[in-house]
């Protein structure tokens, strides 16, 4: 294998819109300060399904923030992306009115794109006929519309793309942005993930698949990563975007660097449509590749924001893999009990939380982890957020279809 010159992209901006809060500060406050989830509740759209609840962003009036003229050309996942992108840009101190937009890339992952609009329009087709179907179906539902919406909103005219690798989409988007910056194709990249699928169709199917929790009597306790009593994930909506910059670009403009994305690795299980490789060999290769890319040893990783979905299989396989690769010193957590499983947004949201953890030297706890699963060979952070000194952190993500991705980050 040819050694590559290390490349650490500067993280200069963070934007988060989650069920745990609108804005990075609000989300971080909830994720580190609350002991039970705040954004999960029953949804009328899901009535009578075995899983009739999800995590939603309830404290955001997108019409007020974006205006009707902007909002009408986006489905909700793209709206959330634009709100997060504006926050990340402001945090980075960047002004789209003054930059060279041709040097700004946008890379945003999403698993399902505008599925709710598809579902709504399909209902219109069946109930009212072909002439009642909206002409906006294609532009609003394509997975890349979060990226194109953000590019239009910011005037970013560099490479722009949507990434679809199921639940690792956000992480792959950030890794792709890292590579674009490294290649010199852009100086700035706005990257991460966005998802919003309060869709009766999708969740009905997820129930059939037995992938989601059916703890209807207590939705706040349903997502419990690494807990002995976990029974599936709980879907959430949200967006998490970072502003990444070539280090010399950030330095030249005197930007505050919040952390650095130092390494990226990806792999495919080539194994099954849903189940991960039983030994986690695919995600192991991705994580080892990210470590090699960053030029850091596995024992240097002090914190991992794990995929930790709260499914029986994922959490067991992933924890065993983390133990095998990193040993047992890294402080491992899953923040999904606070945000829900935001599918294609998860990697963006959780990498943003990893940036905040590095910056504040504080590891968020895994909420709802009351009874550690004895089959999980790792001590997972639970209870209160844990202060700890660490210079390196990792983010792991797995997606249906066997799409694995890992990022290695370091302090600014």
């Amino acid at each position: 294998m040819t050694a590559r010159t290390p490349f650490a992209a500067a993280v200069t901006g963070v934007g988060l819109v989650t069920a745990a809060g609108v804005g990075a500060k609000a989300t971080w406050h909830t994720v580190t300060g609350e002991t039970t989830p705040v954004g999960v509740r029953h949804r009328p759209e899901l009535t009578d399904l075995p899983c009739d609840f999800m995590y939603g962003v309830d404290d955001l009036d997108t019409t007020e923030v974006l205006g009707v003229a902007t909002q009408r050309l986006m489905d909700r996942f793209a709206q959330l992306a634009v709100v997060a992108a504006r926050e990340a840009m402001a945090d980075a101190g960047l002004d789209p009115g003054t930059w060279d937009g041709t040097r700004v890339a946008v890379v945003i992952g999403s698993a399902h794109g505008g599925l709710p609009f598809y579902e709504e329009q399909h209902t219109a087709l069946l109930e009212r006929g072909a002439r009642r179907v909206s002409p906006k179906l294609a532009p609003l539902t394509v997975v890349n519309s979060a990226a194109s919406s953000v590019a239009m909103d910011l005037g970013a005219q560099g490479p722009s793309l949507g990434v679809a690798t199921a639940c690792s989409s956000g992480t792959v988007a950030l890794g792709t942005a890292h590579q674009l910056l490294r290649s010199g194709a852009c100086d700035i990249a706005v990257a991460g993930g966005a998802e919003s699928v309060c869709s009766r169709l999708l969740i009905a199917s997820a129930c059939q698949m037995k992938a989601v929790s059916t703890r209807r009597d207590d939705p706040a306790a349903a997502c419990r990563p690494f807990d002995a009593d976990r029974d599936g994930f709980v879907i959430g909506e949200g967006a998490g975007l970072l502003v990444l910059e070539r280090p010399e670009h950030a330095r030249a403009r005197g930007a505050t660097v919040r952390a650095r994305v130092a390494g990226y690795g990806a792999s495919s299980d080539a194994y099954a449509a849903v189940a991960p490789d039983p030994e986690g060999r695919g995600i192991e290769r991705a994580l080892r590749a990210a470590l090699a890319d960053a030029g850091v040893g596995p024992r240097e990783i002090g914190h991992v924001n794990a995929h930790g979905t709260s499914t029986v299989v994922n959490d067991r396989i992933e924890a065993a893999m983390l133990r095998r690769v990193l040993g047992d010193d890294a402080l491992v957590t899953s923040t999904k009990a606070m945000t829900g499983h935001t599918l294609g947004a998860a990697g963006g949201i959780e990498t943003a939380l990893t940036v905040l953890a590095l910056e504040s030297q504080l590891v968020p706890p895994t909420a709802n982890l009351d009874t550690p699963d004895p089959r999980i060979p790792l001590e997972i952070v639970r209870g209160a957020a844990r202060p700890a000194p660490f210079d390196w952190a990792a983010k792991t993500s797995l997606g249906f279809g066997g799409h694995n991705a890992a990022l290695v980050l370091t302090r600014a």
Binding site: G67, V68, A69, Q71, R72, R131, R132, S134, P135, K136
Partner: protein, 77 residues
């Protein structure tokens, strides 16, 4: 609600057009109503007034007044 009121209300509420910009002489293009938006507006007007505008040919170069007149023609018919 007559045709003008329906059109004006939709332009403001559903397309985010500033009410002061809506006059009979304003071109739809000036209101940033492109061909996609016009098709969407056509559907909304048809739903509101229970009419069929399929044969009405409109482009962004037409004015609000021309659109209202076309809708009025269909309502009257």
């Amino acid at each position: 609600m007559n045709a003008a009121e329906v059109v004006n209300t939709l332009l403001v509420k559903r397309f985010g057009v500033d009410p002061v910009d809506v006059t009979d002489e304003t071109s739809l293009q000036h209101l940033r109503m492109d061909s996609l938006a016009l098709e969407e507006l056509r559907l909304l007007i048809e739903d509101r007034l229970d009419i069929d505008l399929d044969e009405v040919a409109l482009t962004s170069r037409d004015t609000v007044g021309a659109l209202v007149a076309a809708v009025d023609g269909k309502v009257a018919a």
